[in-house]
Each structure stands twice: as structure tokens, then as C-alpha cells.
């Protein structure tokens, strides 16, 4: 896993649920590229169209609450998100993000201190997020334990393939 990630950000509010991230009417889609075309439509139809490649989504508390749909992570990855930072995450979303290697960073209070379009740098080893536009620094929770093992392997699929001796 890359230990530093840099990108331009978009900032969302609290309790952004999975229906806003990926509306139910698209759940039958299975092609990741198609899934990627509808990211955050429930918040604003234009977010996906204008999202900077390699950008970072910043949100408030309980990001990804609601359903267990993995599409919510797939759509963010294929919109071009390189990481997601939030004050806190809903449990299933967090697991799905780790499994598919969309790095989820818990950074309490950050959503109140950064703005759309800022450039952010995440240092996963140090547990620090820096707003390169304003110079402000934030302490983030370090990823450890099982989630770190899975992210280090590049996601649950390579992790399991290795564990099961498939590769």
C-alpha cells in the first residue's frame, strides 16, 4: 500500500448514506465502469463529472451509513477517488472500502476545517493529514491490525488468493 496519498478534495456533510453515494436504481449494474458513472448522484448529479482524477473525498460523521452495497465503494474507485477521509465511517462501508482497497482514513473534525478544491496529503505511517492549500495539519487514526494486512496485500482478493495458495 502506498503510504502517502495526495489529491484535490471535495467536502461532504454528515451521515452521507449509501443511497446518496450510489442510488438504488443502479444496483443491478455489474460493470465497474458503468457503476463509476453514478457516484454521489444522490448528493449532486455533477460531482462525478467534475471529480478530479485521483481526488480525495472528505466527509463528516458516519460516512456510508445505510445499506451493505459494495457498489458504494466500487463507484468511488471508478470515479477516480484515491482515498476517503471522514470524521467516522459506518461499519459495513469501512469493511467494503478496506476489502476493495479504497483507503479509508478516520480523521475526527477534518470536514469542518477544509474546503472544496484544497489539496490534501495523507501520511498513513505518521497518521497525519495535511491541507497543502492552507498548511493546516490534522491527526488521523493509524490503520492497524487486520484492515492494514488486507490493504497491504492490495485488498481482500489478493489477500485471499495468497492465503489460499491460488497465486
Amino acid at each position: 500500500m502506498k503510504t502517502t496519498i495526495e489529491g484535490k478534495i471535495i467536502v461532504l456533510g454528515n451521515n452521507i448514506d449509501t443511497d446518496q453515494i450510489y442510488p438504488g436504481r443502479y444496483l443491478e449494474l455489474t460493470d465497474p465502469v458503468e457503476i463509476g458513472k453514478h457516484c454521489l448522484e444522490g448528493v449532486d448529479k455533477n460531482i462525478g463529472k467534475n471529480f478530479p482524477k485521483g481526488g480525495i473525498v472528505v466527509a463528516g460523521t458516519n460516512y456510508g451509513c445505510g445499506s451493505s452495497r459494495e457498489h458504494a465503494v466500487i463507484t468511488m474507485l471508478h470515479m477516480g477517488a484515491s482515498a476517503v477521509i471522514a470524521d467516522s465511517f459506518a461499519r459495513i462501508f469501512y469493511r467494503n472500502a478496506v476489502n476493495l482497497s479504497l483507503v479509508p482514513v478516520i480523521c475526527k473534525g477534518i470536514s469542518q476545517h477544509v474546503k472544496d478544491g484544497d489539496d490534501l496529503k495523507i501520511d498513513l505511517d505518521k497518521g497525519v493529514v495535511k491541507d497543502l492549500t492552507t498548511g493546516e495539519e490534522f491527526k488521523s487514526e493509524k490503520i492497524t491490525g487486520q484492515p492494514l494486512k488486507i490493504l497491504d496485500a492490495g485488498g481482500i482478493k489478493p489477500y485471499m488468493r495468497h492465503k489460499l495458495g491460488v497465486d
Binding site: Q20, H71, M160
Partner: protein
């Protein structure tokens, strides 16, 4: 230890577990719904050939039942092929209903087990004294490969519900009151144990409604100590012998929240978040809230008891012109029982639309989608923007009795006078 910890300990081969510990536990039953063809893809991508145990996993085709379009039909087809290839002992096709209703009916949810499904509302099975939790598609694929899943042992909070429910207060009202206090992130990563005299006397359907919505507070799982009603239900149905777990007397909850059910009133969750909770009478005191659609269905509010109360309120009456009421039984068994009792006929005569058992419009897929600007009152579990269709539609969550009374009037209405009427005719 708590009963939930004992379940996790037993299934991970340990004598003792405690909050924060990571365990790898055997899964007693795994269910995949029809949103998750990705599970099949991920299974093969990870090198899977056959599922770990063909008696311990199943598909339930509920979200797209019956298939509304060609893409959904194709997804079903590929999942059926996987089920056939793996010779899965159980299979629930588009005729069955919502997974969380179908599995207990089939005896696949029982005390002391770990049940994992690709659906956030798997907390429902706490109603049976099981550890039920939702996962995403690829997590599920790892279960199909190995029969195991890693868990962080959750902190456990107590929600104590004491007192008798007054007229007009149903299990749905009770859980909305809890949500209004704990809020949408009040139990993230934690387990909720519902205790108290109200829970002790509560029937299976009501217990399921309450545990179902624990996830709306972010809970990983929910629990209720099985009572006689649960034991009667599962002993007739369970596919294998089960062991009820009990919480030790010296177990300490991380937090405890007390509620007096006898002081509650009919309650609404108002647009656009589940924890935007108000007493129904407060919502209408400054003016009428006109409705376009009523909706009674889902794993939260589509059971026999839910349709029964609606049928009794609407029997011999007619919902107004230009208003509509969708009734979606949670399962084929629920629908059959409602037909036998004459409730479906009463509802059709009252102007309701009866849809096939399944998830239907609860998550905006089909059978009752809302247009921009429309207002729906619903017995379901979520009122997020766009949940049932247009992001500009508004959804009020309520008990089935409140939904039936309200759509009958075309506007949000206190169900209590209608419940009085039922009592007289009963």
C-alpha cells in the same frame, strides 16, 4: 460475558472474548441477496471452485422480485447457475419474499448462531437470539470460500425498554423513539442489546421490527434474549438443534439507555433522515401534511401483523381518489396468511395495490417509485433522499397503523381514533 460474546467465542474456538478483540469465527449460515452478483464474481476472482458447505449458504431473490427488467433477470440467471453448480440445499427464488422474513420462516435463523447476509438489515435476527450482521459482496465471497469471517468483538450497549405500550404505539414507534435519542451514529460498530419488560413480553414480529432498525443507528448487530414466543417459533422451524446463550449477571454494558414505553406516542421519522424523529401530533399541529402514497411492506413493516392492522383499519372504507396505497407482503407465507384471513380482499376493496412479496419500492427499485415532489408515508426503514425514487420526494416513516389511517385521510393522521373503531367492531 454477554450472550453475543459467548456466540462469538464458541464459533471462534475460544473460551473467552472481549470487546476490541479480533476473532475469526465460523459462520453458521450465509445468505446472498440478488443485489450481489458481485459475490459470485469475487468468489471466482479469489480462485473459488465450490462453496465451503452447500447446506450453509443460500440465495434469496428479494430486491428484484420478480425481475423488473432484463438486466435483473440476467443477474438472477447467473446466480441460479451458481446455486445449481454448487448444489445449494436451500434456494429462495423470486416467489419467496424478503430474506430477513424468509430465513426465519424456513428455520434458518435460530438462537445462538452467527448469521451473515449481504444486507445491512441482518441485525433483524437478534430477535431470535442470534448474532446477525451484514457484509458486502466480497466479504461474503470470502465466507463462501472458507466458511469463516473476521470480526472485531463489538462493545455492547443496553437499550432498556420498560412499560406497556399505550394504544397507537407499535414496535415501530418504539424503535423510532430510540433512534430519535441515540441518533443515526449512536451505535456505530457496537451491538445493541434490547432488554426490559416491554421486550420480555413482545412477540416475534415486533422483536424483528425493533432489531431490524438497530442498523439505522450504525449497530453491527442487535440482540434480544429469546422469550417463550421466540422459542415456540423456532422450535417448530429450526433446521438444526440450537443452544440459547445467556448473558452473565456480572456483565457490564458500555452504556445503558432507558425508555419508558408507556409514555410514548405514535411517532414519525420525518424527511430526510431516520433520526429526525417527532411525535405524529407535533408534526401535524401547524397544518396538514398531504400524502400521495402510503406504503406498507419490507423487512421492517411488511409482516402479517402489519398488514392485519392496516386491513382492519381500511375494511369497508376507500382511500381517496388520486391517492394510492402499496401493500407488499414480506414473504409468500405472510401473503398466504393474509389471503386466508381475507385481509388482501379487504385491502383491494379499499383501493390498495398488492405487490409481489419482496423489497419492491423500499429501496427505490420497482413497484411504487416516487416522483419528484411526491410525499409518501411508509412502514419501511429509511427515508434518505432518493431512497424510494426521486431525490426530491419526501418520505415519512411510521407504523403500519399510522400509514393506513393517514392514507385513508389523504394526509398524516393520528391512528388512535381508527384503532378505537377497530376495537368496537372486534
Amino acid at each position: 460475558m454477554h450472550a453475543l460474546e459467548k456466540i462469538l467465542a464458541k464459533n471462534s474456538g475460544k473460551d473467552h472474548v472481549s470487546a476490541g478483540e479480533i476473532v475469526t469465527a465460523d459462520i453458521d449460515f450465509a445468505e446472498i441477496n440478488d443485489l450481489y452478483l458481485q459475490t459470485v464474481y469475487s468468489f471466482y476472482e479469489m480462485g473459488g471452485k465450490k462453496v465451503w458447505d452447500n447446506t450453509k449458504c443460500t440465495f434469496v431473490f428479494d430486491h428484484y422480485a420478480p425481475a423488473p427488467d432484463e438486466k435483473a433477470a440476467q443477474n438472477h440467471k447467473e446466480m441460479r447457475e451458481f446455486a445449481k453448480k454448487n448444489n445449494l440445499k436451500y434456494h429462495f427464488d423470486t416467489n419467496a419474499g424478503v430474506c430477513h422474513q424468509v430465513m426465519p420462516e424456513a428455520g434458518l435463523a435460530y438462537p445462538g448462531m452467527i448469521l451473515v447476509a449481504t444486507d445491512s438489515h441482518t441485525t433483524t435476527h437478534g430477535a431470535f437470539g442470534a448474532f446477525g450482521t451484514g457484509v458486502g459482496a466480497t466479504d461474503m465471497a470470502t465466507i463462501l470460500l472458507t466458511g469463516k469471517l473476521w470480526f472485531r468483538v463489538p462493545e455492547i450497549i443496553e437499550v432498556r425498554l420498560d412499560g406497556e405500550a399505550p394504544e397507537g404505539v407499535f414496535p415501530k414507534d418504539v424503535i423510532l423513539n430510540v433512534l430519535g435519542k441515540l441518533k443515526a451514529d449512536g451505535a456505530v460498530y457496537k451491538a445493541i442489546d434490547f432488554t426490559g419488560s416491554y421486550v420480555d413480553q413482545l412477540g416475534v414480529a415486533g422483536r424483528m421490527t425493533i432489531c431490524n432498525m438497530a442498523v439505522e443507528m450504525g449497530a453491527k448487530t442487535a440482540y434480544m434474549q429469546p422469550n417463550q414466543a421466540v422459542l415456540d417459533y423456532v422450535s417448530k422451524r429450526a433446521v438444526k438443534p440450537f443452544e440459547v446463550q445467556y448473558t452473565d449477571d456480572d456483565f457490564e454494558y458500555q452504556e445503558s439507555h432507558q425508555f419508558d414505553v408507556s409514555k410514548m406516542q405514535p411517532t414519525l421519522s420525518c424527511p430526510n433522515s431516520v433520526d429526525n424523529v417527532h411525535a405524529l401530533t407535533d408534526v401535524v399541529k401547524d397544518g396538514d401534511v398531504e400524502l400521495d402514497q402510503g406504503y406498507i411492506g419490507s423487512c421492517t413493516g411488511g409482516r402479517f401483523e402489519d398488514i392485519e392492522v392496516a386491513a382492519k383499519i381500511l375494511k369497508g372504507k376507500r382511500i381517496p381518489k388520486f391517492k394510492r396505497l402499496d401493500i407488499v407482503p414480506a414473504s409468500a407465507e405472510v401473503m398466504r396468511r393474509c389471503i386466508e384471513k381475507g385481509y388482501i380482499k379487504d385491502l383491494i376493496l379499499a383501493g390498495a395495490t398488492i405487490a409481489a412479496p419482496g423489497c419492491a419500492a423500499c429501496l427505490g427499485i420497482h413497484e411504487g417509485i416516487l416522483a419528484s415532489g411526491e410525499v409518501c408515508m411508509s412502514s419501511t426503514n429509511r427515508n434518505f433522499p432518493g431512497r424510494m425514487g426521486s431525490v426530491d420526494a419526501k418520505i415519512y416513516l411510521a407504523s403500519p397503523a399510522a400509514v393506513a389511517s393517514s392514507i385513508l385521510n389523504g394526509k398524516i393522521t393520528d391512528p388512535r381514533p381508527y384503532l378505537d373503531e377497530i376495537k368496537v367492531t372486534d
